[in-house]
Structures are given as C-alpha cells and as structure tokens.
Symmetry: D4
Subunit: 252 residues, 8 copies
Amino acid sequence: MEETARLQRVLEKVASGVLSPQEAVLQLKQEPFQDLGYAKVDFHRAFRQGSQEIIYGAGKTTDQIIGILQAMKQRDCHNVLVTRLSEEAAAVISSAAPMDYHKDAKIGVAFPAPHPSLGKIVIVTGGTSDIPVAEEAAITAECLGNQVARLYDVGVAGIHRLLRNLDTLTSARVIVAVAGMEGALASVVGGLVACPVIAVPTSVGYGANFGGLSALLSMLNSCASGVSVVNIDNGFGAGFLASRINQMGGLS
Amino acid sequence: MEETARLQRVLEKVASGVLSPQEAVLQLKQEPFQDLGYAKVDFHRAFRQGSQEIIYGAGKTTDQIIGILQAMKQRDCHNVLVTRLSEEAAAVISSAAPMDYHKDAKIGVAFPAPHPSLGKIVIVTGGTSDIPVAEEAAITAECLGNQVARLYDVGVAGIHRLLRNLDTLTSARVIVAVAGMEGALASVVGGLVACPVIAVPTSVGYGANFGGLSALLSMLNSCASGVSVVNIDNGFGAGFLASRINQMGGLS
Amino acid sequence: MEETARLQRVLEKVASGVLSPQEAVLQLKQEPFQDLGYAKVDFHRAFRQGSQEIIYGAGKTTDQIIGILQAMKQRDCHNVLVTRLSEEAAAVISSAAPMDYHKDAKIGVAFPAPHPSLGKIVIVTGGTSDIPVAEEAAITAECLGNQVARLYDVGVAGIHRLLRNLDTLTSARVIVAVAGMEGALASVVGGLVACPVIAVPTSVGYGANFGGLSALLSMLNSCASGVSVVNIDNGFGAGFLASRINQMGGLS
Amino acid sequence: MEETARLQRVLEKVASGVLSPQEAVLQLKQEPFQDLGYAKVDFHRAFRQGSQEIIYGAGKTTDQIIGILQAMKQRDCHNVLVTRLSEEAAAVISSAAPMDYHKDAKIGVAFPAPHPSLGKIVIVTGGTSDIPVAEEAAITAECLGNQVARLYDVGVAGIHRLLRNLDTLTSARVIVAVAGMEGALASVVGGLVACPVIAVPTSVGYGANFGGLSALLSMLNSCASGVSVVNIDNGFGAGFLASRINQMGGLS
Amino acid sequence: MEETARLQRVLEKVASGVLSPQEAVLQLKQEPFQDLGYAKVDFHRAFRQGSQEIIYGAGKTTDQIIGILQAMKQRDCHNVLVTRLSEEAAAVISSAAPMDYHKDAKIGVAFPAPHPSLGKIVIVTGGTSDIPVAEEAAITAECLGNQVARLYDVGVAGIHRLLRNLDTLTSARVIVAVAGMEGALASVVGGLVACPVIAVPTSVGYGANFGGLSALLSMLNSCASGVSVVNIDNGFGAGFLASRINQMGGLS
Amino acid sequence: MEETARLQRVLEKVASGVLSPQEAVLQLKQEPFQDLGYAKVDFHRAFRQGSQEIIYGAGKTTDQIIGILQAMKQRDCHNVLVTRLSEEAAAVISSAAPMDYHKDAKIGVAFPAPHPSLGKIVIVTGGTSDIPVAEEAAITAECLGNQVARLYDVGVAGIHRLLRNLDTLTSARVIVAVAGMEGALASVVGGLVACPVIAVPTSVGYGANFGGLSALLSMLNSCASGVSVVNIDNGFGAGFLASRINQMGGLS
Amino acid sequence: MEETARLQRVLEKVASGVLSPQEAVLQLKQEPFQDLGYAKVDFHRAFRQGSQEIIYGAGKTTDQIIGILQAMKQRDCHNVLVTRLSEEAAAVISSAAPMDYHKDAKIGVAFPAPHPSLGKIVIVTGGTSDIPVAEEAAITAECLGNQVARLYDVGVAGIHRLLRNLDTLTSARVIVAVAGMEGALASVVGGLVACPVIAVPTSVGYGANFGGLSALLSMLNSCASGVSVVNIDNGFGAGFLASRINQMGGLS
Amino acid sequence: MEETARLQRVLEKVASGVLSPQEAVLQLKQEPFQDLGYAKVDFHRAFRQGSQEIIYGAGKTTDQIIGILQAMKQRDCHNVLVTRLSEEAAAVISSAAPMDYHKDAKIGVAFPAPHPSLGKIVIVTGGTSDIPVAEEAAITAECLGNQVARLYDVGVAGIHRLLRNLDTLTSARVIVAVAGMEGALASVVGGLVACPVIAVPTSVGYGANFGGLSALLSMLNSCASGVSVVNIDNGFGAGFLASRINQMGGLS
C-alpha cells in the first residue's frame, strides 16, 4: 500500500535524523493534489486507483478545463479524458491543449498518445438512438487501453438480431448493455452470457419513460444474475468500470 | 342500437295511443339495473357490452356478495365471476349460492354451467411467482368461453425456454404476458408474434420494484409494437380483454 | 412456423448432399436483417409479425432515416411509416425518397401506394388539444389498411356530446380513446361498448398532470373492463395495435 | 369582528379607569383555549369559525379523547364529532361520555342532541367499496345540521346508473363525489350539474392506484369546472366543507 | 329538469300527431352543441350548468379559437373567457373578435359587456410571484359577476401582514388562497375564517418544490377544516368555483 | 487538532529513539474504536465531536445492544442514549445495564447520571399525535445537558394558540418545530423568531401525506429564513443538533 | 418582547387620556409594513427577527425590485440582499439604486456599506460545479457580518483532499456543506466535526439525480448527527442560517 | 460456442445419414430444461453461463422448492443456493433434501459439498443493521468458490474506522459495499481503491429513506468511478456478480 510505504519512508528519515519531526509533519501533510481554487487536481489518484484524473466537462468553463489540463500536462499526463464536452468548448480548448474530439461521444482526449488494446469489451445497444451513450462508453474504454467491439441496434423487439450475434457476445470478457425505453436488453443479454454485464439505462424514449426511470428500474430489477447498473446515460462510468474488470489479472 | 330501438318502440306506442306521454316518460326512465342500496346491479350490461356483471370481491362483505348473486340468479345468470375472493369468503358464500372456487386465481364461479372453449389464448409468465395473477387471467378467460394454453416460467433470463415454445406462441390469437421484476417478457414476446399482446405487470419482486412500478413502466415503454398494458396484478382485466379480442369475428 | 420450415428445408438439402454441413451452418446463421452499422433493418419482421419495419424518427438523423428507407426500397417496401418526424426533416427526406407528410400526426409515409380500408376503428378524443396524438393513431391505422372514424372533443365534462355519438361508438370493431387531464374518457367509453378499447393518455394539461401521469394512472385503474393502455402520447402504438385487432379473422 | 370588538371593550374599560393598563395586558393575553398539556382545546373556534372543535381520533389515546370531551362538556358542547374512531375505542369512551357510534363511518357523536336538517347535500360514490368514506362525509354533514341524500355505486363504468339519477343530482346545493380507482366520477358529475362539487379520492383499488394517488390526480385534473378536491379518504373534510357551502345565506 | 321537460314536450307533440315517431327520434337526437370538427361547442351548458362555455386557450391555434368565438357570437354570447392566452395570440384574435386582454392573468374576455359585481370573494397570495395565478382567479370571478378583493403578499413568514387584514378576510363569502413554496397560507387562513377556502397551489419556488408538488400536498393535508384544493396554478378553476359558491342563494 | 498532535507526539518518540519506525507505523494505525465484529464502537468520537457514541436501537438485537453498552461502560460512559428502543427490549437490557426508559420517546438512557440543564430549547408540535417525535427530541436534548420547554398542540389551524405563547418562543435559543400533515408550523414559527429553527416533519396524517412527504416538502420549501430540516420523524437528530447550537459559546 | 411593550405603551397613553380608545385601536392596527400593492415590505422584521427584509429576485420585475429598494432606502437600510438576480436585471437596477453585484452567486447587495466579519463559517463543496450555490451562501453570510472560509472541490471520491483540510474544518463554528450527485460530503464532514453542519443539496448531476433529489435524500438520511438540510440549491438559506448560528452569544 | 457446436454435430450426423432430417429437427428442438409445470428448471445454464440454476425462494411453496431440488439432484447438482428462504421453510425442505441453512443470510445450501476459496472479495457495511444483506452476499460468494473478508460497521459517519482498514480494502479483487440511509459508503470506498466496487443499497433507515430509495439514488449518482449498483437489498446479486469478476482469468 502506497500510503503505508510513504509513511514508512518518512519515518525512516526521521529515525536517521535526515528529517526533523516538524519537517516530517509538514511533509506528511503535503497535498498530493494541486489546488487551483476552483478545483483540486488529484495526482494521488494514479497511485490510489491506477488511473489518472478524468475531467467531467459539464458545468465547467473552458478556462477552468484549460487550467486543469495545464496542471496535468506539467505532470506529463497523456490521453486525458474530458467528458460531456460540447463541440464548441472542444474547439476553444484545442487551441490551448492538443485534443482529439469524438463528436458522438462528446469526449475530448487531450495530449493524445498511443495506447494498448487489450482483452475484449462488447458494447451493445437496443436502438440507434442509444448510440451517443454507447460511444461515450466505447471511447472511454478504448482510451483506457481496451479492445472494444460495437453491436448496435439489437434490441429485444427483434431478438433474432441479438441471437445472430451470439458469437460476439460470448467472446466478451465484459459486456456493456445500453438501452432506453423498457431496458429489457440487459436482462436478455445477462441470461445469455457468463461474463459481467454492466447495464446503462438511457433517457431515450418519452412519456412514461420519465427521463430514463423506466429503463433504470428495469435494469435494477433484472431477473438475470451478473448484471449491475450505472446512472442513466452514464456511458463514461460504464466504460471506466468495464476497463477495470477487463484488465483484471488471473487468480493463479 | 338497443337504446334507439327501445325509444322507437315506446314512441310508436305513444303515437298509437297505447301509452300516454306521462306513462312514456316513466317507462323511458325505468332503471335497467336493480338497486340494492349498497350496489346497483347492472342488467343492462349484457345488452350494452355483451357480457354480464362481474363482481369485484375485494372490499365487499359476504352478505353484499350474496345479495348481488341472488339478484343475478333471479335473472338466470350463470358462470358469474367473483374475483379477489378469499378462500374463507368463498366457503361462506358457497352455502348460499353454488360456486366453484379456484384457489390460485382467488376466483369463485357462481351458478356454474358448461361453457364453450373457443379460439386460443396463450398465457405466459416470467416466473413461478407470477402464476396467481396468470391464473386469474386464465380462469376468467375460460369462464368466458375461450380455450386457454398456459406457458409458465419462461422469463427472459433463460430465453431458450421461451424460444423452444415458439409454436405455442405463434398458435395464439391473443397472448397475455404476465411478469414482475423487469417485465421484459412482454417486449420479447411482442417482438416474436403477430397477434395482440396484453401485458400484465405483477408486483412480484422487491426493492426498486416499488410494488410493480418497475414492470409497469417497462411494459408501457415496450419497444415492440402491438403491446398494451393493464393495471399491476390485474389478471382479470387481461383475461376479460383477451376474451373480447379472441372472440372477434371476421371482416368478410 | 417460418423458422421450423426454413430449418427443415436446409436440413433436407444437407441430407441430399446439396449442402455441406459447413455451408448449412453458414446459411442458418445468415442474417434476416440488413446491417447498416447504426441500424439493423429487420426484413424478417414481415414474416414474423405480418408487418414491415416502422421507423421511429425521433433521435435519428435524416441521413440515417434515408439510409434505412433506401435499404427498404430495395426490398420493394411501400407505405413505410416514419413517426415523430419534424416538418423540416420530412422536407429533407422527401428529396431522397417520395413521401406523404401528415403535419398534425408528424408522420411521413414513404413510397406511398394505395391501401385497403377495412373494418372500423373509431378514434375519440377528450379535447381539441389531444388531436395530434389522435391523428398519429389515425394515420397509422389508415396506412395499415383500416377504415378510421374520428370523433374529437367529446370529453366527459360535457358527456352529452359523447352520448349523442353512441351510434358511431357502437359501430366500431376497436376504439382508440385519447385523453389528457384526468383521462376519464377511457372509462366512460369502456362502459358503453362491447369492443376492445385502447386508451392513450396524453401529456395535455398542466400542474398535477405531471406530464401525462394523471391520465396514465386513471386509465390503468379504469373501472371499466375491456380497456388496456399504451404509453403517454403513443398514438402510433395505439393505431398499430388497433389495426392488429381490427384485422383479426373469424373463429369459424 | 370578534377580536376588534373585544379589544375595543377592553380599551374602553382602561379609558374609564375600570382596568389598569397592566390588567388589560393580562386580559388581552388570556387564552381562549383550555390547555390539557397534550392538547389545547379551542373554545375560540365557535366564534372564529362558526363551529366547535372536532376531535381527530386517530393517534390519540382513549384517555386523551375522554379528557378533551370532558373539557368540552363543561362548556355545554353537544354533538361533538370524534372521527377515525375504532369500535373498541368508542366502547371505552362511551362509558365516560354518552356517544352515538356510526360503525361504517367510524365516527362517534358525543353528547348527542337533536339537530336541524337543512338544504340538500348529495353524496355519490363510484362503487360499493367507497361507502365507508362516503358515510364519514354523510354523518359529518348530518350532525352539522344538513339534509343528506345518498347515491351509492353509480360509477362511470355503467354511466346509465348515474344518468337515471339526474333528478337527485340536480336537486343538490352541493355534491360530494367519492371515488377510488380512476376517480372519473367527479368529472362526469361536475359536467352535469351547476352546483359546487367536492371530490374525495379514495384509496380503493390496487396496483397503479398507489394508495389513492390515481384518483387524487384525476380529480385535480378534472376537465369539468366547479370541482375541488380534499385529501384521499377525507370524508370528514368533504362533509364539513359541504356543510359550510350548503348553509350559505343569500346575496340579497 | 331541462332534459325531462324537453322529452315531455316532444312526446306531447307525438301524442297530438304534430310529430311522427321518426321525426321525434330525430329531434331527440339533435345535438345541443355545434360541431366544428376540431371542437364541439357546448351550448347546452348554459342550461345544464348555468354558465356558458369557457375556452381553454393553451394548445389551440388562433384559428380554432376564432372559430369557436364566432360560433358563440351567433348565439349572442358575451364576456366569453379565453384562458391561458398569450399576448401574441390575443392580438391576432382581437382583430376578428372584440376582446379585452388581461396581461397578468393571461385571460382574454371576448365580446365584453357590463356584468354585475355581487357578494365578496377575497383572493390572497403568499408572495408577489403568485400574483399571475391570483389574477387568473380574480379576472375569472369578476367576469362571472362577482365582487373581488385582492390581498397580495401576505405569506406566513410575516404573519402580522395577514393578521392586520383580518377584517378583509372575515368579510369574505369565499376566499381563494394562492401560494407556492410550502403553501402554508391555506391552513392559516382556513383556521381564521368561517367561510369556504379554495386553495390554489402554485409552481412558484424551486428545488424540492417539484413544480408545485410541495404546495399541493401541503394544501391537501391542511389541518384546517373547510379547505379544498384545485390543480397547481389553476387560478381559473378557483375563480370559477368561488363564483359558484359566492352566488349561492339562501336556504329560506 | 487531535490527529496532528498525536502524530507529532509519535514522531517525537521516533526522533528520540524511544520508538522504532516499525513500532510507530503500528501505533499510528492502532484503532481508536473497539471492534465487536457486528459493531465498531467509536471512542474517538468524544474527542472528534465532543459527544460520545449514541446507539440507534432499531434493527439491533438486545444482545448486540448489551454488548455495545458493556464496551462503553468499561470506558466509564454515562447517560448513553439508546434510541428507537421498544419497551420489551428495554426491559431485557435493563437487567444487564441500568437504564431509565422513556416510553413516549422510546429512548433508554443507560448508566444514568446527573447532567446540567443549560440554555433554552423550545420544542413545539402542531398536534397531539406529534408528541412521541417531540419527546424523542426533548429527552435527547435534556440528556445532553440542555433545558427544554415543551409547547404542544399549537398547530396553525388555530394560530391564536401559538401567538399566545410568543413569550416562550422568543425566549428560546433554538426551537425544534415538530409537525405532520402540512407542516406549516415551521414556517409560521420561523417568521416569528430570531433564533435557529430545526423543523422535524412527522409521518402523522394519511392519504396524500405519503408517510410524511407532505410535511417534509413543506418544511424544505419554507418561505421563512432560518429554518433547516431533518429526516421525517427524526426527533433524535433534531434534539442532538439543537443541543449543539444551544451550547455554542460567545464570539468574544 | 416588542409587541407586548408596544401594547403597554399604547395602553398607558389611553390610561393617561393622551389617546382615545378609538385612536388606540387605530394605532394598534397600524401596519408595521409598507404596502406597495404587489408587495408588503416588512419593516417589523428587524425587530422581530434581528435582520431586515431580503428580496427574492426570481419572479419579480426590475420595477418591482426597484420599488421595494426605494421603500427600504427611505428607512435607511444598507446591504440589502437581492438574491437570484440575473446580471441583466442587476444592470437595470443599479442605475436606480447603488448595488454591488456578485456574478457567481447571482446576488446583488444594494446600498453597500462596511460590515463586520465575525466568527468563522466554513463552506465546503463536493465539486467545481457546486460553486455557484456555495457562493450564494458565502456572499449572504459575509454581508450579514460573518467571516467565511471557502474549501471547494473536496468531494468524497478523493477523500484525502478533505482530510488534508481538517484544520480548516475544525476551526469552524458552523459548516455549510454543498454537494450534488450523491451528496455524501455532508455525512463525511458531519462525522469529522463537533459544530453544526448545514447541508445544501445541489441540482448538479444528471439522470437518476432527478434535479437534486438524490443529494437531498442522502443528506436527510445522513448517518452523522448534527446535520440539517435546506432546500435544493438554497445557498441563501444556508448562509442566512449559518449566520444566525455563528452569531449566537455564550451561555454564561 | 456451445449452440454452434451442437448444431454442427447434429448436421454432421445428418450428412452421414445417421440422423434423418426429421429426427434432427426433433433433436434440435429438444429442451435443455426440465418442465415441472410451475417451473422450467434450466440445466442449459451451466453451459451457457458457467453456473447452475439458483432458486429464488420468496413466493415459492416448499413443495415447489423441493420439486426443483429433486430435479436438480437427478443431474448431480451440489451446493444449490435457495435464497430468501425463511427458517421455517428451510426446516421443512431439509427433511426432503440435505441443506445447510444460514440464518442471517436467509440462504439454504442444498446438497452441500466442499468448494474452493479463491481470490478475495471484501464485503463492507455501513452499519450493524446492514449485516443480513451483507451476509446474503457473503454466503453466496463463498458457496460459489470465493474467499470472502467481512468488514462490518465502517460507515462514513466515523470515517477513521474505514481508513484504519485500508489494507483490507486494497487487498480486494472486488469489493461489495452494503449501506442503507444515505449510502455514502460506496462513494468513499470507490474513491479509495482500484478494483471494481459493487454497491448494494439497503432498505435500512426510515422516513425520507423511502424503502431504500435514498441509498439507491446516492449510489447511482456516485461521484467515484468504478462503482455499479444492484437492486435494494439484493445481497445475492452482488455476491454472484462479485464471484464472476473475482474469478476472471488474465489477459495474456
């Protein structure tokens, strides 16, 4: 554990007289994040969680985003994800920090660099309208170093479209199931495969859909085992978690 | 139309002097229902709607139910359905009016008589726990003169159980799909068949099921066309409507 | 059943040596839909469900819709419905695919061709503001080959307007009842007729209407038998289901 | 106005020297209620509101109710209503204070005395199961001096039962419409009459009724003018308000 | 009763040979409303309910409104209310039908004519932001022939503002209490007066106000007797009902 | 700050050679709570928060509660509150640990000892049925060393009962306002005083009260400033917070 | 108490003949607020509540706000807060009344004057997007004479950012915890400190956040004692209450 | 893929004449489940999903459960989980099928046999009352062959209890976070670790907890990445999914 090791190292320096107790207190209290006032950029996260800070773009000004990116650049960060980023904001930010922008996913990838493409995450959607959320998951997972297969518009109203793609489904280490309306896709997929399924309800629909509540409740009540759920329209969260699971090593 | 014809007949009697205007007013106002004080038994219904009064047992005393049954007996009613009837209440009522009691469905059939078994209604359930609601639909439909096929525990978590019964599904003139939890069964069935599907959400489940809300919203948001929905746990309503549709004659 | 017959035919070819097992596997797995990437157009549906794919226009780009239409044209589809289509999008699409546009209903009918006008579907509304949803149902039903009668603004606050049209109501094989606010129309109509009633809650209203929730709950709790419900504002779904029921043949 | 007059009288006594300013302050602050610790019995109410305190029995012990009744007896109160009172509690209280108990309405009337029977309040219910709530309204209104006509089980699923009683409806000065399930009765009645309609949603029903929410929303969204709503199952409130309106004098 | 009398008259003509039975059927079925296709203008209403049709402007085109107004003009209607009418629509309509427009209330009064000013309706609001809803009630009540007193911004957070106006409150025959946020005004007013109180929850507020739900539930749960509730922001409904109650004659 | 000081002390021991780095790591990680397996009793809390652990009795077995009490006894704790404790459970526990039980409040006070009675907390309720929640707050506050004044049944439906007690209200340093139904009491009190008001919604009521939701929303939307809210029926939380505020020292 | 003293003074004048009873009634009824028709400006509030009227800007026209400000200016008010004020409205008002405008907080401070900076209020936010609500609280508290420390973007997903600022947290007399999404910040902070914590849920988030409902429920259910909650996004309310608590004197 | 291989094998037999086409159709349609009428036991699941059928005990009779167990016994199943099983039902079933019963978890394990104990799943709870749900997850995971560490009562109100157990947390391959009330535990844990976190909201709490809704929404809106959610109180689902993730092999 990082924190224990760091404490041990500091204490050893105190024991050997290299550090006075006062200096040690100071050092132990030193912040592993950079305080920009409006944001505290978390550099400790790579150690603690194995992945660097990701910027949630909604509700931040372009100035704030540029500020955070510059702080991260100084620590040599690459492939920094900026999610929920409008095309206009991306254009502004690009002039200050190099960035690949994915329009469907509304994700910017700052300081792009090559990344691996490991394992296999399969992302399925119920319909065409669910694609933006699915792409948020897909781009996130790809940037985090995973191989992604897309299987779009295979909703349960024409279940043969899903069944004809069983090979793809069963080849997955993790599946992300994205669906709005009644969200039944997650249960059907969950009943067909042996790998973890991350369900993403979308707000696609109208009326008694109530902004995605319908698909959300469906997925939470899935009669298939092995299914868990993230927030409505949270493609990023699903892609991030899928990456974590996909990259898990063996039990040996 | 019954009402027009009745008016015409009365007017003819007035024109021919058989009836005075005052007598005609009285007769036209005569009630086609019997007033028991606590209930107004609707004998007009058979003309208006092609089916006799059905008694909703919940919230009525056994005395009230017996009273209504006796009024109906005097008009020679048979196979009168009493729904939501507890086993105890059925026992009490049976001593006053002959009644077949169906325990799973909680339905009593008073003054039982032979009935036809027409067409084909298929009733499917997602799980074993949905059976009481399904039986309410099944007994209702059978008493109203329909042939019923039962296909229970074929939920989407093991979709091969449903697919192996496609022959039964496609032989139906109407399907009643009964499911709790995520209620995905209705959409999957709706996507497989060409006949009307009546979806019945059940309160089976727990937690974010919220008493059947989850299945209800799912079914209302079904991405399959040809699906309509009745109230949570309303097996009777589904069976009644299925009967109406099943017994529709040709267009010729 | 289509699938069984197809399997039987393929197996016979294998038995007679016309097809190798490997070829058979391939053929059996061949997709009865066309994959456009963003959409999997379902040509199997006509066999499975007796009606061709209908395009839900909301949330699709005009390019996507044109793409799907072109795929369908190659299979000689006519009277293809595109629902929830804005007037602007319809104008764009019309230049690529001939289309009749119904403004009230927001429905485009691509590759228009003559169609029959069978049976009788009656569509009633509670008020003038419910007409767009009613028209979505009406145009859908007409394009699917049904005769439609419209009875608008006959809500229960002035019930004599409804009662004076009893002849029209009782002439229906199916009724679609469209109402917002308290949605009482469905119950009153349901109590007057002997045919199936499809209730469509609308989002017309304000305040404690909560986007149509009020009418939805009313209709689900209808004390009249023979009523089922579709999603809020789902005129299409009601028109489609009404068509299915209206076109049911006899029991002979 | 009572308060102004009282102030005037006290000030006149101060001006005339009968009262010192200090005594006046005391007197003006004297409480027009009796403090029992757990309850402050409001004797001011008869002046302020034209009716004496009514005791809401639910959540009070029989000792507390007896205590309040005894305090009221000392001020010569008659026909004191105790609502939401169980039969068991009524039996206990009766031994301490003479009381007529109405079982259906769950109302006790303490220190019963003759009362007038003025005007005309008509109470209608949708079904038999709504009768207990209707009786709470009826007994309340009768005890407050009003003539009450009951019209039960005239729900909209068999609307001829209601229409045949138009004479009774139109003879009312106020109507109380009690209904569960879809609560459509209030709108239909509201559209037929020219007097105020007080709608009482009941919790009768199941499933998507959600404890009376369905009828409540229906009634709030009534498309008929002249309808207002009280709390779910609040028969007392409707009876009390109906009494107030029924007893309003002329404009002359 | 109007309907009975009409029936009697027609029957007498049949008895005397003035009318053949066939002609009588026709005449009895003749519609007491004018069918414009998109609307069925209800002229029967003045007889049935003592007030003419009122036009709910939201969701109707200016053409539709003008059409309805012209139909009403032919029957010599005056002071026709058009509610929920935007200033722009009012301008358009005014050129076709003379109309006074009340901007705060968003009400147009077509074919204006002098009207009486009877009794006393007091309209109170919790805050300044509730005034538009209060004005909808006030203008409605005034046009229907009632005297209206306005008492605005007397919410419970500074209850002395309300208490200093007790004279006005107690002079009312009916009170309309309009409040958003926590809606406590209705209960406090209800506890101070002896006349009926119509509570109008408004959508004024934010956050846990949930579009007026907070005030709505408050008012429905009012611990004061004599309070009933209309829909959120339904100033018209409150003004209409207040008029009905205010104009009730004596019991004599 | 406790944690910093502790760190400083340990580091000084390391610098002086009294402690090896390894021993220091161990010591720094030592738990300031006692682990009973099913509970981790928090002894650190007195330092961190100025008050000892309080035991939430609901959902714990009497054995678990006794275990926790015994662990606390060993550290000489007194006046340990056990909330939501049934009378039966209290009897069982009393035999193992001396305990005063308050029946209305459902609170047990273990190892009772004298405590101070500082400042002034006033607790008001809307009705008699709110008393149990109020008593939970009162007993909690008293045990934590505060003087408490009770003012019960002063709801807004008879606002003179509240106004006659203005002296008590204005003498408070903190007020706890407990009310169910429409919860208007909090706003009215909040508008009358200059001290902080803690509002406690109760589940007292029925129907559209929805288990306290009505009062909760009312209080959150209070138009009076200086009001904050705790959970429905959370008398303990209100009493605890009132104590904290009441015992705040001066600014000097 | 102000009211009692005023009454005493008036009565003394009556006793001494300086005032006639009629004049006294008049004077006692004189309004301690100024009636602008659309608003009743509450000058009594400074006496009653120790703070002057604050203007809720949303839903008021600039003319109305200027009117209220001018009335307040005549009574020599300073640092008058106008909350929920758009930048455009502020510009208009500034030309009529001198005003400092705080853009993030959307607060205008009219007739600015020096104010003290007492005690210590610490305002923490979970994220960067919560800053506008936090600033509403901060500016409010500062204008009311309190010292404010800001600690932004210290949400629980990187809890070390919060723990490294324990010194600031524990130096507070009151803490305002502002958070959207899951709102966990309030519980974590509540568990770390011994002072009152005012939790402000924000509407920051999407999907199952449901406009702030998620954070609101979290905070109401906080397992930490000493936490109370204000309305969603109600920064002003939190700042106002924090000021009240912070400025409480000692118990001495 | 199993299904493809099975098809291939059957087709090869047809090609070689071992099977006639008709026999092949029959064999391909043979059900990989056993139909008990009330249940269709899914033996295909072990192939399809790598785990055998699990029996959801709630809503099934003991006879039904015994029937399913006997069918599974014939296929040599071991360690069959029966969840949501009351102690009484377990006693009855035990006499027919050997079963270990876990009282806290309400799980029966039929036909018990030794199982491995692989990897590391850590299960944390916020409080003592969450233990039954946590045990449902723990027993499920253990029976499926995983090593489980329990860390109970480490909720965020005393966050040092959690922080002192960082070693255990960081040693996990998967974490199950079980919490009621505000459910903040999931976010805090999610921010501390690099492995997948499965959040289980519990219904522990009262009032605005609304049966677990509070914790559910909190967890869905978690600001920490890597967290997904299952249904309220769904310990089984979390344990099952944790097992799937824990047993994932390497990428190599």
